[in-house]
Symmetry: D2
Subunit: 332 residues, 4 copies
Amino acid sequence: MVIHLKNTVSASIANEIAQQLQASIFQENDYFVLVTPSALKAVPEAIQPHVQAAWPMDSDIQLASKNYRSVLRSIRWGNTEIGGETNHTVVIAGPCSIESWEQIESVGKLLKSLNINTLRAGCYKPRTSPYTFQGLGLEGLKMLAEVRRLYGLNIITEVKDSSHIEEVIEYTDIVQIGAKAMYDQSILRRCGEIRKPVLLKRGFGTTLQEFVQSAEFILSGGNSEVILCERGIRTFETKTRFTFDLCGAAWLKQYTNCPVILDPSHAMGYAYGVPDLAKASVAFGCDGLLIEVHPNPKVAKSDSAQQLDFEVFTKLVGDMRKIAGAVGKEMI
Amino acid sequence: MVIHLKNTVSASIANEIAQQLQASIFQENDYFVLVTPSALKAVPEAIQPHVQAAWPMDSDIQLASKNYRSVLRSIRWGNTEIGGETNHTVVIAGPCSIESWEQIESVGKLLKSLNINTLRAGCYKPRTSPYTFQGLGLEGLKMLAEVRRLYGLNIITEVKDSSHIEEVIEYTDIVQIGAKAMYDQSILRRCGEIRKPVLLKRGFGTTLQEFVQSAEFILSGGNSEVILCERGIRTFETKTRFTFDLCGAAWLKQYTNCPVILDPSHAMGYAYGVPDLAKASVAFGCDGLLIEVHPNPKVAKSDSAQQLDFEVFTKLVGDMRKIAGAVGKEMI
Amino acid sequence: MVIHLKNTVSASIANEIAQQLQASIFQENDYFVLVTPSALKAVPEAIQPHVQAAWPMDSDIQLASKNYRSVLRSIRWGNTEIGGETNHTVVIAGPCSIESWEQIESVGKLLKSLNINTLRAGCYKPRTSPYTFQGLGLEGLKMLAEVRRLYGLNIITEVKDSSHIEEVIEYTDIVQIGAKAMYDQSILRRCGEIRKPVLLKRGFGTTLQEFVQSAEFILSGGNSEVILCERGIRTFETKTRFTFDLCGAAWLKQYTNCPVILDPSHAMGYAYGVPDLAKASVAFGCDGLLIEVHPNPKVAKSDSAQQLDFEVFTKLVGDMRKIAGAVGKEMI
Amino acid sequence: MVIHLKNTVSASIANEIAQQLQASIFQENDYFVLVTPSALKAVPEAIQPHVQAAWPMDSDIQLASKNYRSVLRSIRWGNTEIGGETNHTVVIAGPCSIESWEQIESVGKLLKSLNINTLRAGCYKPRTSPYTFQGLGLEGLKMLAEVRRLYGLNIITEVKDSSHIEEVIEYTDIVQIGAKAMYDQSILRRCGEIRKPVLLKRGFGTTLQEFVQSAEFILSGGNSEVILCERGIRTFETKTRFTFDLCGAAWLKQYTNCPVILDPSHAMGYAYGVPDLAKASVAFGCDGLLIEVHPNPKVAKSDSAQQLDFEVFTKLVGDMRKIAGAVGKEMI
């Protein structure tokens, strides 16, 4: 159950009630919000005098549920906004990994020229083998910051495990929690304490229920800016890297209040399919896309097969703008 | 290996060669086509004088492969064509099952008014329980024929098992082989002998490789008009009925020469998600869509949750036409 | 709901009631059994005078449910019995396909020498490609009959589609419905009319609910002898052919009254893993196993990788007998 | 490629070579071991004089591969050993979570009485919802240590994320890395530095390839004692919690040199199926089992449905000992 306490309730009383109800607690505007286990279906009588409003819930999808808050959350970074009252579809693009200054600078320049203002690139790579390229780490973060300065872009990069979470939080505009880290409570809880948007990727073996419950770890820490990202799930079909779960995305749109961003590059795993999937995503009505683009995909140190080259990407951006127009969305 | 014999080779010689190579054989234009196991990589010397052209193949996806024939097959029924040189996206719509004359007549009228000219409806339902509605059978086929006459529509209906295949072939314009029947070789081979288009649905547990190999049973019988239909696969996610495999559809588009039709209704299983998925499908660039529409979904005898009502469907058709325009397709 | 009518109710009254309740009907002993949609939770008042007993059901798993009939069904063929009051674990073994008289005769001889009395072998192969070996058909059935005569064995063989179902029913002691045919209602309903045991294999994309509902098609036709066979499901893991669903088998044991047979050969797909899985299956307490054995697996025309040779199989049978003893079962 | 340098090669030269080859490096006995990306298939000429032996590899499964080291690794903790030359099947048992001193003490006593000497219990629970019981943390670790002292048991407990890894390493005899943490490189790399056995659980969405590559992060850090644990994967079947992948376990046994432990409790998710699966696991020939047992499962704060009570567990241990005997294993 989500409970809004009256704004006259003090912090100490609020904490006492939270403890009594085994509830998470955070402050919002001038009142406290409690989230109890969803098994609690009615406010205990003794507590009622302190309660402004309460929402019993079916499951532990609570703060993210449309049953609690039916309006899509607004998420802002830099001069950009998605969700809320906007009709924006944001394109977030860049290489899988930062590999060199020349590489990332050229991508920054391309985005700028296409009026795309959010750059993605990985510095800490959650590779599945210890014997492959693991990312440039802090050096990569610094390059990202420099590209941001140079081209006036926003940046998003991934936290792979908690050993480098503070650096990522410091440098990035949006913190990305990757598909393999999305059950990591130390990362989730730390992201609940910050005041930057968090893009949470669905694990490839993760149900929608578990995915949104991961978002609850962040939301119940008091950070209201969570973006959900579908990037493909693992199924029996192996001719493509993953299976893009657009049905799942439709469910998220219907039942949650978090903006939904789609990642056709990781879902498909092969560049040939990415433009069609990206166009489909725009017509689907998502709040944004993550697309991998690289100046020379053939020599990329990770995800070589799935990154678009500049020519294909440039054509795709034009196509997507047309589709966005046809469905009443503005592509930013 | 696919082999085109010279047009001077007689039927008896052709059959002899086929037997020698354990090959399927059929006539095309004025020559014979053989398809051997893909393990054969070179034409045996003794046969070379009879051979016009030969295509060694990587796998038993042979006639359907772009490596054999790179141009998209043209499929025609009535006054309609998809694939080939067209840029058509066909909408095929109708109720899950025919339940009564009033029901199917009202759908026919609606389609007519929306300039949609192919009506789908099930007469033989492949239900998973013996204790539920099993379809109207032959009576349903006759109603379909009557609606066709009345509104000048084309019709497509499903063969569930081989007990009623001849009736379906007789009445329908396109034969649909359902997801549960697509491994049935008696149905597949019978459809190889006819000269009507066949819409083959992917089984929900079927790999793309097996799916296209099922099409090979039909194609190698001499029927060149096979449409592939992706309708959702079964995965660990159960909040939606199936998982719509758009990545798989991208693979089909890239590697096969058969038109691809998408079925968002069965994939999603819930009406709320169907419009967004249908719009995505159009932007994706599919050759057509199957969409379930019913005058009163709440009382439908099968697939009640997923059928659109007339109002939602009418709005969707308008939206899809705009998107088709934005991606350079014509919706028919 | 399953309803036993009083034995005084005539066929014509029984049929009338069945029609009224949209129920399946068959005769058992001296009374009629009706199975209505499970949505019906109470016997209508007007019918109550005709009713001996009634079992409301949670789902369309009805006749197969322990809630209807808690005792394990007894299944008999030749001099063999499983289920019921026995503690038998039957071994059913043989090659994937009959390829020649020498091959099948040698397997028959081996089984005889090991005191195994049921021989399996495929005559009609449900291959996924049209360009591979499709089985010997009727010729194979005749060879099987001859091996049966020669060594006093029972035989089981698979029906692939309805084109050859009558031949299979005529020749075999147990009719096997394969994983790809288990949704085929014309086969299922035909098997409901016969009086031979039916071994129903679970489709690799089939839920337990659908699997047992397929069995209901047979049971509600009046054939009470259905054996359920788990043979691996399709998952994201592709290093093995399928994933052996022992958890699912545990569910079947707990909730259904049909004997459960396990097929480690098809689940694994590689001979190296079959002995360990077979031993596990015995200790698990299944009612039987299907194991593929071939005189020379390397040259087998189908499933070459997964068939055991005679030496490995002979050793395995000895090992399984010891384990059967340790868990209080008798291996037959 | 795995490379053993000659024991005359100094640390500084070894490190230089490692850097040159982009290889992981650790010391074993009196020589250095390098592991390069598996793409390297031959030792560069300049380095050959320093090389004692080298194993080119097919994939990044290298140190764990039977192609490198065909003998099963021996893993020891306290007075216990599995793998190596032993024929041991170890039973590791205990509650899902430590909930109170009385609870864990009673389990310790039970294990002692059954001659089981390794106790498992969770202190930091990787729950999927923030609104449920999260474990007793450090307090739980201290209770575990006390039970160990009292009954002479060994203990194993799980690290959920890197925030508490040092406490777990300090208190436990075996470090368990849970299914949700197994991609966490900060945990994996830290476990590579310690000299305690590590039990690595397979993620429920993790391929065998990725699973063993996770083990490579630990092994290539110099810790040779890794146990692999299969605990069920996520599939389309939801009547059971997960699907127990015994086929996958057979692959691990065939291709890797790490002992394999099976966890039927988490795979099944329901107590009724655990005994049969556990008995199957013993006959399968695994090196050990994890089984959940609780004095009163009904009131358990986590995994209530799947924990065995003392009576069922005691009976099961007896049954398993008989089966172990029948397959030539000794249960410890």
